[in-house]
Structures are given as structure tokens and as C-alpha cells.
């Protein structure tokens, strides 16, 4: 499809049509055009579940106003200040995992607890609540579940972050929750909006990175030569390059970037009319001819510029944190468990679509 055209009209389940955007240049053009909207209150936006809008589902200026509350915490510099804390989390988690039962599920034992603990640190969410928020987050991303289950999970998570913020309005507290509580108390931030943002950060902060840790491990196990390159290098630039390539090659956000045109826009030689929906196919854009031999995993290539984190004003807020977590968590796992391999045949793994992941990743070492 991508080879024939950058935009293709597709039929949606409920009868409408939308544009599927499959090429790199067209995806970047669409995602950076201010006439292409992410506003979830627009009924023409081709998505199924309509919860309370997070800033990722708003346009500017509201999007910018709410995103700005968090941007300082996720700068390159401030994320790098977390390195020690992340290394400690990774080391503790790996020690427990390696000393536990063998075979074991890498998802529950390693890939999930790391980003879960890290996002708790950043937000100031008590990690002892992790089962609660992990389960509800998993429900949100499980495409097999009906909309009412997802709505219930959203409500539970929203109620939870709302309560955390409310409890901390009067007492100073750590992390981004404490920081927001100060703004709320000063009348500079709306409590309900803050609860939605906090929920979005909590969910996105652990779901996506856990998927990437698990799927990167899985992909590397199937490419032993590439695995060895990452395992055997202690050069940070080699590791950083490898992580960019894994982000490009895997591209977990299959269906996240959904948009609607608010005016007639020409993209890639096609006239996209006002009110027409667009779905960005990020995995396809990342396998575009822009990347030579794009279907091959090559940890040595310069994969920067990939759109795994999206593009335009909505590009992933936590991208620098995700990079650092992957740069720390992947090499050390491969080094400490050199005999790591899948404990079940590949075909038995249950893949989850939408935000690509696996339910379980049974491994042995």
C-alpha cells in the first residue's frame, strides 16, 4: 500500500471513510500541520473510545497550556538527572528477577516493574498501588475488551489520580503531583484537568516503555548478531543508536495518531477535505524507503528522525525518559543473563495490538 501511494482512503467499521497515511514524509507533513486536529471532542475524529480529553487529544492553545505544566520534568537535562535513580530501579528489579523462578515472565518480572517504578518516582504516586493502575491501564489497551470496560477503567484511574491530587493540596509533596497541587492551590491549574493529565502520564509512562523493553528483548533474541552488538558494547553512543533503531523497527504506537482535518489540506498530492479523518500509520512510515533496507534490524544505522514518538506538537512528552530507560534496562539484562532465550515457541506468544505489546514473555536463562 505504501509503495503505491502515501495516502489511501479506507473504509471504517461504522461506514465512514478516512485517510490512512503510510509514508514518512506525508506522516510528518500531516502531524505538523495546524489544520490537522487531534481534538477528541470533534465527532469526525475516527476513534472509538471518547474519555475525558487529555492534552494529547486537544489542540493548541489548551494543549500547550496543559503540556507546559510537565515539560520541565522531561527535558534532556532533567531526565539525565534521573539516571542514578533509574539504574538503581533496574538493578534491584533485575536482581530479583534473576534470583527468582526460572523460567519466568519477563514482562511481569522486568519489563513492567521498571517503568512503573520510574513513573511513580516522577509523579509521586505510591508504587504500592501498582497492581491497581497496571491492571486498569492494561484494560484500556486491550482491544478485545468492550467499550464499557474501558470506560470503567478510565473512571477508576481518574478517580484515583483526582484523589491523590486532592489529598496533597494542603501538604507539600514530591514529584509532579506535588508540583501540580501547588499550582492548583494558587488557582493556576484546574484540579479536574490535572487529574486527567496525571492519569495520562501514569498510564503512558509505564505501558509504552514496558512494551518496548519486552518487545526489544524479543526482537533481539531473534537477531542474535544484533543482540551481541548491544550486549558487548559499553559505548553510550552505540547503545543510544541501538535504542533508536529498536524504536524505529518495532514502533509500538500503531494506532495512536488519529486526526481530523479542520480545513481543506493538500498532503502528498491528495486533497484532504475539511472534516475528513486521518490515521497515521507510524509503523509503516518507519519502514519507508527513507530508511535504507528498512525491513532489516540494523543497530548500527542512524535511525534518528523515526516517528515512533510521533511528530508535530504532540510528539511524545516522555521520549527522553523512555530513551534513557531503554538505554539502561536493555544492555544490563543481556549482560547479566547471557543465556537468555524464549521459553515457549514464538507462535504461542499473544501479541496485543493498538499499542503493540505481549501479554507475557516467558523466558529462561
Amino acid at each position: 500500500m505504501r509503495e503505491q501511494d502515501g495516502l489511501t482512503r479506507v473504509q471504517l467499521q461504522h461506514g465512514d471513510t478516512a485517510w490512512l497515511v503510510t509514508r514518512y514524509d506525508e506522516v510528518r507533513a500531516a502531524l505538523s500541520d495546524p489544520r490537522i486536529s487531534a481534538d477528541i471532542t470533534n465527532p469526525r475524529l475516527p476513534v472509538a473510545v471518547h474519555g475525558r480529553p487529555t492534552f494529547a487529544r486537544m489542540d493548541d492553545p489548551d494543549h500547550a497550556r496543559l503540556r507546559r505544566v510537565f515539560t520541565s520534568a522531561f527535558t534532556v537535562k532533567n531526565v539525565n538527572l534521573m539516571r542514578r535513580a533509574i539504574e538503581t530501579v533496574v538493578d534491584r528489579t533485575l536482581t530479583a528477577f534473576a534470583g527468582g523462578r526460572n523460567p519466568a515472565d519477563l514482562m511481569r518480572g522486568y519489563a513492567l516493574p521498571i517503568p512503573s517504578q520510574v513513573i511513580c518516582l516522577i509523579l509521586g504516586v505510591p508504587y504500592e498501588d501498582h497492581q491497581f493502575f497496571e491492571e486498569h491501564s492494561a484494560t484500556l489497551f486491550d482491544q478485545g475488551l468492550p467499550a464499557d470496560r474501558k470506560q470503567a477503567a478510565l473512571t477508576a484511574l481518574y478517580t484515583y489520580t483526582h484523589r491523590l491530587l486532592t489529598d496533597r493540596l494542603t501538604a507539600p509533596s514530591p514529584g509532579l503531583i506535588g508540583q501540580q497541587a501547588v499550582l492548583i492551590a494558587r488557582g493556576e491549574l484546574d484540579l479536574d484537568e490535572a487529574a486527567v493529565s496525571t492519569m495520562a502520564l501514569l498510564v503512558a509512562g509505564h505501558e509504552t516503555t514496558s512494551s518496548m523493553i519486552a518487545l526489544s528483548t524479543l526482537v533481539l533474541l531473534q537477531h542474535p548478531d544484533q543482540l551481541a552488538r548491544l550486549r558487548d558494547s559499553d559505548d553510550p553512543t552505540v547503545v543510544a543508536r541501538a535504542v533508536e533503531e529498536l524504536l524505529r523497527y518495532i514502533t509500538i504506537a500503531e494506532t495512536a495518531a488519529v486526526r481530523v482535518a479542520t480545513d481543506d489540506v493538500e498532503i502528498g498530492g491528495h486533497l484532504v477535505r475539511k472534516d475528513e479523518g486521518l490515521m497515521m500509520c507510524l509503523p509503516s512510515a518507519n519502514r519507508d524507503g527513507k530508511f535504507a533496507g528498512a525491513d532489516d534490524l540494523d543497530l548500527g544505522r542512524d535511525a534518528r528522525g523515526h516517528v515512533a514518538f510521533g511528530f508535530g506538537v504532540h510528539q511524545c512528552l516522555g521520549q527522553n525518559l523512555a530513551r534513557l530507560e531503554l538505554q539502561i534496562a536493555l544492555p544490563v539484562l543481556l549482560r547479566r543473563l547471557p543465556g537468555l532465550k524464549l521459553a515457549v515457541p514464538l507462535e504461542e506468544l499473544r501479541m496485543r495490538l493498538g499499542i503493540l505489546s505481549v501479554d507475557e514473555l516467558p523466558v529462561t536463562w
Binding site: S32, R68, T71, S72, F74, T75, K77, G305, G310, V313
Partner: protein, 64 residues
Amino acid sequence: MKIKVDVSACIAAGQCALTAPDMFDQRDDDGTVVLLSEEPAPAHEHAVREAVSLCPAAAIDLTP
């Protein structure tokens, strides 16, 4: 080569600070771009061009 940045367009993704740390930094309070020097030394020109192409918000402009 001269660099101009548009702070109002910047979304604080940090791609420039990651790619060309000698030329770009991020403000402490909101992460938006800080231009460290308007005219890059020849050694930094390549990284600056990379930063321009990676910027998700087209907030960096180059003039010859």
C-alpha cells in the same frame, strides 16, 4: 550559517539539545529552546542541520 529559534513554536521535545548539545539547551522552567550561539562553528554545522530536521515543531530556522 545563522540560526534562529522560535520559542513560541517550541514544544520542548528536546531533540535539539540531544542532537547538538553545544548549540542548544532547554530552559529550566518550561523546557523550551535556548540558543547558545547564533553562529555555529563549522564543526557543529552538521549537528545543527540534524537538529533542524529532527525538530517536531519546526522551531529552528537556518539562514546561510
